[in-house]
C-alpha cells in the first residue's frame, strides 16, 4: 500500500515563504487564499536570549478526516493513498467541511463557487513528481513520500526521530510530521 505523508524539518525552515508562493502561483489560487502559509513563532525570550521557530502548514491529510465525514454530498473524498481532495462538481459550497477542519486547511473559491484545498499536488505526485511546495524548498525542510515504504525518506525520519503532529490529541491522525527545532542558540 501507499500512504502519502509529509515531514516538516523545522530545524531547517527559515520562513522564506518559497513554498507558500510556489503553491499559490502554480496552483493558481485566488489572491486571498494560501494553501501552505508558514507561521513565524517568535522571537520569544528575553532580549538578547531569544529563540524563533517557523511552522510550515498545509492540509494534514488526516487518517481520520472530520472534513470528509462532514460533507453532505460526498464531494469531499479521501483516496486509498491517503490524499484528501474535493470532487468539485459535487461541491455545493455549504461550508460544512470548512467548519469541521481543525487546521483551517479548506477555503472558499468565491469566484468559482467551490471549496478548494491542498491535494498534495496529487496529479504531479501520481506522475512521479514532488508537490510544488517540496520541490521549491531550498532548505529541504519539507520531505514528501510514502510512509509505507519503509526504506523511504519519510518513513526513516518519522521512525528514527521524535516528531510531533499538530492537535494530535483530537484524534484526527494527521499525516504531517514535525521535527521540532530548539530555534535558538541554547
Amino acid at each position: 500500500m501507499t500512504r502519502y505523508a509529509m515531514v516538516m524539518d523545522t530545524r531547517r525552515c527559515v520562513g522564506c515563504d518559497s513554498c507558500t508562493i510556489a503553491c499559490k502561483v502554480w496552483n493558481e489560487l485566488p489572491l486571498d487564499v494560501l494553501f501552505c502559509p508558514v507561521l513565524r513563532d517568535g522571537p520569544h525570550g528575553v532580549y538578547p536570549h531569544l529563540h524563533m521557530n517557523h511552522t510550515p502548514l498545509l492540509c494534514m491529510h488526516c487518517a481520520e478526516t472530520p472534513c470528509v465525514h462532514a460533507c453532505p454530498t460526498g464531494a469531499s473524498r479521501q483516496d486509498a493513498d491517503g490524499i484528501v481532495w474535493v470532487e468539485e462538481k459535487g461541491c455545493i459550497t455549504c461550508g460544512a467541511c470548512i467548519a469541521a477542519c481543525p487546521y483551517n486547511a479548506r477555503h472558499r473559491d468565491r469566484q468559482r463557487g467551490v471549496v478548494i484545498k491542498c491535494d498534495f499536488c496529487k496529479d504531479r505526485v501520481r506522475d512521479g513528481e514532488e508537490p510544488f511546495c517540496v520541490k521549491t524548498c531550498h532548505q529541504r525542510a519539507r520531505v514528501f513520500g510514502d510512509l509505507d515504504d519503509k526504506h523511504g525518506a519519510v518513513a526513516r525520519l518519522v521512525n528514527s526521530l521524535r516528531t510531533e503532529r499538530l492537535f494530535e490529541d483530537i484524534g484526527t491522525e494527521p499525516q504531517v510530521y514535525y521535527i521540532m527545532s530548539k530555534g535558538g542558540q541554547g
Binding site: G15, C16, A22, N27, E28, G45, P48, L50, H138
Partner: protein
Amino acid sequence: MPKVIDLRDPDIEVRKSMCYFCHTNCGVLAYVRDGEVVYIEGDPDHPTNAGGLCCRGNIALKHLDHPDRINKPLKRTGEKGANQWEEITWGQALDEIAERLAAIKDEYGAEAVATAGGTVRTDDWARRRFMNLFGSPNSFHNALLCWIPTFMIETAISGWSPFLSDMENSRVAVIWGANPGASTLPAMRGLTDLHEKGLKLICIDPRFTETAAHADLWLPIRPGADLALALAWINVIIDEELYDAGFVEDWCYGFKELVEHVEQFTPEWAAPLTWLDPELIRESARMYATNTPGNIQWGTSLDQQGKPSGAAIHARAILRAITGNIDCPGGDLMPGPSMEYTVDEELEANEYLPEEQRAKQLGSEAFKLCSWPGYRLISDIAREYWGKAPTAEWMCEANAPAVFRAILTEDPYPIRALLVAATNPVNSYGNSREVLEALKKVDFLVTNEYWMTSAALYSDYVLPIAGALERPVVHNNYGCAASIVTGERAVYPLHERGTDYWFWQGLGLRLGQGEELWPWANEEEAYFDIVEPLGFEVDDYNGFVREVGFYFPKPEYYRYKEEGFFTRTGRVELYSTVLEELGYPPLPQYCGPVENEVEHPELAEEYPLALSTAGGFMPFHHSEEFNIKELRYLRHDPYMEINPATAARLGIEDGDWCWVETLRGRIRQRANVTNAVHEKVVLVQRGWWYPERKEICGDDPFGVLESNANVLTATAEEHCDPISGTWANRGLLCRVYKAEEGGLS
C-alpha cells in the same frame, strides 16, 4: 486551478535559463511551446540551487506577462512628470537619444553625460564600453553599497579579495551583517547542511534574523559599530596569543605596528560603543580564532556604514590574515581573475578613455580608492602579477552622491544627461529627496525599465527592457572570480522589448564608435567570446550552456608559498602601502558610526534611537516585485521593527502606522513590535514604493518618498567613507512617533 501542461509534449522544448531576481542566479528550466514559456521550475542539475526556487523565482511568468510592463519605447510628449507619452520605435528612440548626447558632448564635454546602474541584470561591460568610447568617466552603480569597497580594500591588502569561502573544510563561519536566510537561500542551505555536521556559526547583526536563529553565537551589535567590534576582536586575538604566529611572521607585513595600534581597543573599550558584553566579544573572538580553519562570509554590511566603512573592512580583513585563514583549506580563498576565459575588464575598452577624462571623474578627488586614482594603482599591481585586472565597471566609478549633487549645483561642472538602467535611483541611492530633485532637474533623462516608476516618469525616453527569461545570463562575480555559470534565453524579448546591450551598442554605432568596436550582433555572440577560450568543443554560446553550463576550476591552496601574495611587499599588508600611498591611514583608525550618542549627545537627545535600513526581506529584492500581487499579498504594508519596551514608552502598538525621522526626512511604516531588536534600535524595511497608485499626483509619484528607507540615509561628503566614498545606510540616529489617524499628517 492550474492549466494542465504535459511536460512530455514533444512540442515543448526545455531551455536552461537563469533567474536574476537577485544576484544568486539560480538555474531555471523553462518549458517553451510555440515561442511561449508555459512553465518553469528550478533546475535540479544547477550547481547553485539544485532545484530550489524562492518566492521571487517562482513568479517569473507573472513578471514576464505582467499587465504593467512597458512593451514599446516611450517618448515624452507632455511636461516632465506629466505621464504623457508617444509610442515610438527603437530606431527612432536611439536616433534621437544619440543626437542629443552628441549635442551635449559638443557643448559641455563628454563628462556631462553620466549613467546610473543597478543590481546585476545587465551587461555592465557594454555600458562601460560605451562610456569609455564616448569619453565620459561618469558611470556609476550602487557599487559602493554592494561589496565593492570590500573588494578593493581586500585586494589592496592581500592581492585579491579572498571572498570565496572553502566551506566544506571550515570549522567556523562568521556571518557579518548578512542574512542569507532571507536573501540568498542556496547559501543558507549550505550553511544549514554544514551546521548540522558541526560547523560553528557566528552571526553579527543588530536584529535576531532568520540566520541568527540558527547560529551558535549571536552578537546583537549597535548598528554601524562594526569597526569597534573588529578592532576589539583583533585586540583579543593578539592579547590572548590566538593568532597564527608562523603565518604572521612569514607572510604578514606590519604586524608589529598593528600590535601597538590595537592595544587600546580592548573589549571593555568596545562595549559601550557596540552595546555588546565584553565577555561576548571575547568568547566570539576566541570561537573564530581557535576553530581554525574558519571563514568570514561574503556580505555587504560593512560597505553601507559611510564614514567608518573603509576602516571596518580593513580591520575585518586583518582578522583573516592574523588567524591564517587565507588561501588555505577551510579558509577564504583568492580566486583571482580567470586566466581561462575572457573577463569583463577585457571587454570594457578602458584603454580608450583618455587620461584627462579620467581625471574628471566626479568624486575621485575626495574618494580615491574606488575611482580612477585607486583603481589605477590596484589594476597596475594586479596586471603585474595576475596579468589581468579587476573590472573597471563597479570598481572604478564616479561617486553617485557627487553626481546627483553636480546635477543640482553644477559644481564642479554640470551633468546634462543621465542614462539609467536596472535601477530606480530614488529607491536605491541614498538621500532620496535629493535624488528625486536631481532626476527632475537633469536636462536629459533616459530610463531602461520594465514598468513606470518615479524615475521613468521624469524621463524623456523610457525603453522597454527584457526580463530574465528573455535574455541570456552569465554569472561570473563581476569578473572577480575564476568560475562562470551560464544560462540561455528562454524566448526572444516579447513585444518590442529590447536589452541593455541593444541600447549601448545601438547608441555606440549611431555615435560613430565603429562596427569593429561593437562586433557582436547580440548577447550570445559576445558571450561566446567570453567562454570560447575555455576550450570546450561547442559551436556557440547556447551549445556551451546546454553541454557545459558552468565551470568551476579546482580550488588552489597556498598559492602564496610559491609566488608570495600579489602585493608590492609579497605579503598580506596589515599595514597597507596602497592606502598609505593614496593618503589614507595604513592601519584602521577608529571612528564612530556616522551619527552616534557618544560623539553627538545633543543630536541623540532629539533623535534617541539608532537606525538601520538593513532590512532586506523576502519576498522582495531591493525595490523590485512590489507590483507582483501574489507577493504583495504576503507583505502588503511596510513594517519597521521596534522593541516592546520602546513601543510602550512611545504609546505605539503592534501594527500602528508610525513616522521614522532623521535629519534628512521622515517616512511612515507600520510597527512590528518585537524583541528581535535592542531597546534603542529601529530597523526599517527598504525598497518600498506603491506601484498601485497609478494616479500620478503631487510631488511624490507612486508614494516613492512615503515609506522609502533611503529618505533617511546620509550622503553628505562628511558622512561618506573617505577611502571609498560609500554613504551611510546604517548607524544613523532617528526618532519614532505614531502617525495621526488617517496616516499622512
